[in-house]
């Protein structure tokens, strides 16, 4: 933008401070040096001032980077050399070179926000006049197409409606991260397609995320792409699992990821949309669609979206701390999770009794006669957790006790035992068998404040290095 030498004032009628300085503009215009006034809203503002221009498209204001009105700018040699905003008598006198300017006005009046920054306008201006950095292909809809139906028709949805990813919405989403839109964050299975921050943002818009969720979604996608997590296998398996996102640290509170009442259920935007955004990235960028590469026999409702936060308690080490991160760090942990199996125990009042209940229920993961196959996530409710806390049991102690209780008798587990053909190889007879591989049982605390219930979320039956191991990624930006 070529700047005219002299003075530039940007103002809008709606702003009382702009009205206050309006008479001064006539004075400045008579001063012999060029004055340009860009008016954002009302052609009658500064009427009669020779250099007044209606900036109704806001292009001039946008290109000048105006945040407040009035703004006074001095330009020399085509370059801006001084700027002030609001009415500050000293600044205006100095920049205009008129020591008597505005003697009748108060010394200081703050300005108002520029129209360029009004909600919904900033992104539109960036799209029209700015460098958006967006590179995704534009898909132009037909005039009679309903945008939501158009997303269905193009195969972009998980079966529920998505928010149509318009450029303005995607720009607003990208404001949630300082990362560049064209940064490639990895290759998404099954197609191993390169995935940019922009593609994640597009899918996050579709999933219903707010911009402040984007760093969590980015971390979740990055975690899913860690080799050990085995996202390709989780996607294409005939078994049930999908990526479950567990959020730890202060970010959960800041953006409202539910860890309380109905933590594993519906009704919270962050929970619903963060897990869904990850799944939409797998579907749309990775090409992982059910019935194609996704060969799940039954699947699980969690494959729409599965995300919750741990209800962290100062006396129980949260999951991310157990996994080596600082307590004040924010993380996502991804677990290849199946469905939710309730554990109802309303009578145990000692940790020993409750741990036995948990162990008995955990035996059912995959099949009571199988072991070392699927991992498990035990979600301990606050009421159940209190039984352990009051007896001085840490989370680590509970894990240790469960590991002992889950050394199972091989005789009962081998194929054919109990008249059931399913089971472990005959060689396991006579030996104790651990139900889970080392590191294969995770414990988190979550849920509402009333209810002596906990939950088991079984992992993929191909857990461990051959299939999937849980991964944790710090949420940065």
């Amino acid at each position: 933008m070529n700047l005219p030498d002299g003075l530039i004032v940007v103002a809008k009628r709606e702003c009382p401070t702009c009205t206050l300085v309006e008479p001064l503009l006539h004075e400045l215009a008579q001063g012999g040096e060029p004055l340009t006034v860009f008016v954002q809203d009302d052609p009658a503002y500064a009427a009669g001032v020779p250099g007044a221009v209606l900036d109704d498209t806001l292009e001039r204001s946008f290109r000048l980077g105006i945040e407040f009105v009035p703004t006074l700018i001095r330009v020399a040699g085509g370059r801006e050399v001084a700027r002030t905003h609001g009415w500050h008598r000293g600044d205006w006198r100095e920049i205009s070179g008129r020591p008597e300017l505005g003697a009748a006005l108060p010394e200081l009046r703050p300005g108002c926000a520029s129209k360029t920054l009004e909600p919904g306008i900033a992104e539109e201006l960036q799209l029209r006049f700015g460098d958006t950095g967006l590179t995704a292909r534009n898909v132009t809809l037909g005039e009679a197409e309903d945008p939501i139906e158009a997303c269905y028709d193009r195969g972009w949805t998980d079966g529920l409606p998505v928010v149509p990813p318009t450029p303005a919405r995607v720009l607003r989403m990208l404001a949630g991260t300082p990362r560049r839109p064209d940064e490639v964050i990895g290759l998404v299975p099954p197609d191993l397609a390169p995935c940019t921050v922009e593609k994640v943002a597009i899918n996050a818009v579709m999933a219903g995320c707010k911009p402040e969720y984007l760093p969590v979604v980015l971390a979740a996608v990055e975690a899913a792409l860690i080799d050990e997590f085995g996202m390709h296998g989780i996607l294409c398996t005939t078994m049930f699992a999908g990526p479950l996102v567990i959020v730890n640290g202060p970010v959960a509170r800041h953006i409202g990821v539910n860890s309380g009442v109905n933590a594993l259920g519906q009704g919270h935007r962050a929970n619903a949309s963060i897990g869904r955004a990850l799944q939409l990235v797998i579907r749309n960028v990775g090409g992982g669609r059910p019935g194609e590469v996704d060969r799940a026999t039954l699947g699980t409702p969690g494959k729409y979206s599965f995300c919750f936060a741990e209800a962290e308690d100062s006396a129980w080490e949260p999951l991310h701390v157990q996994r080596g991160f600082a307590r004040e760090a924010s993380t996502v942990t991804l677990f290849a999770g199946e469905g939710v199996q309730g554990v109802v125990d309303q009578k145990s009042r000692t940790p020993e009794s409750l741990a036995r209940s948990f162990a008995l229920c955990l035996r059912a993961v995959d099949h009571p006669k199988l072991a070392m196959a699927g991992d498990a996530l035990l979600v301990v409710s606050p009421d159940h957790c209190r039984v352990f806390l009051e007896a001085g049991w840490s989370k680590a102690r509970l894990l240790e006790e469960l590991t002992q209780l889950l050394m199972l008798p091989g005789d009962e587990m081998v194929a054919g035992a109990g008249g059931i053909a399913e089971g472990l190889p005959a060689a396991m007879a006579g030996k104790p068998v651990p139900k889970f591989r080392p590191g294969g049982l995770l414990i988190v605390r979550a849920g509402g404040g009333a209810g002596l219930f906990s939950a088991i979320i079984a992992g993929w039956a191909a857990s461990g290095p051959v299939g999937s191991i849980p991964v944790t990624k710090e949420i940065t930006a």
Partner: protein
């Protein structure tokens, strides 16, 4: 309905934006063909002849008629046509 809304492609952009037509069958042998009369005047003259020629080739033809050309076919009729046929011919006469 907004005019010419633009969306950003959420995919890996490995397939074209324009949606491909369903692949045409190499032959009509063993397939059922729906002939849908949209109830526009004299459309049946054209469709009768089409049906006659298909039948002469030994193709199974099923005839359908929607109540009025001014509205889309009722859902039940669309589902019936999809369930009973692999191909559909729809004629617009004027």
């Amino acid at each position: 309905m907004t005019a010419s809304m633009v969306l950003l492609d959420p995919t890996s952009e490995r397939s074209p934006v324009a949606r491909a037509l369903t692949a045409r069958p190499a032959s009509l042998a063993g397939l059922s063909v729906a002939v849908l009369d949209i109830s526009k005047a004299r459309g049946n003259v054209f469709l009768d002849r089409i049906a006659e020629r298909l039948a002469a080739q030994g193709v199974k033809v099923n005839r359908y008629r929607k109540p009025t050309f001014t509205r889309p076919a009722p859902t039940a009729l669309r589902q019936q046509i999809a369930a009973e046929n692999q191909l559909v011919i729809e004629g617009l006469a004027d």
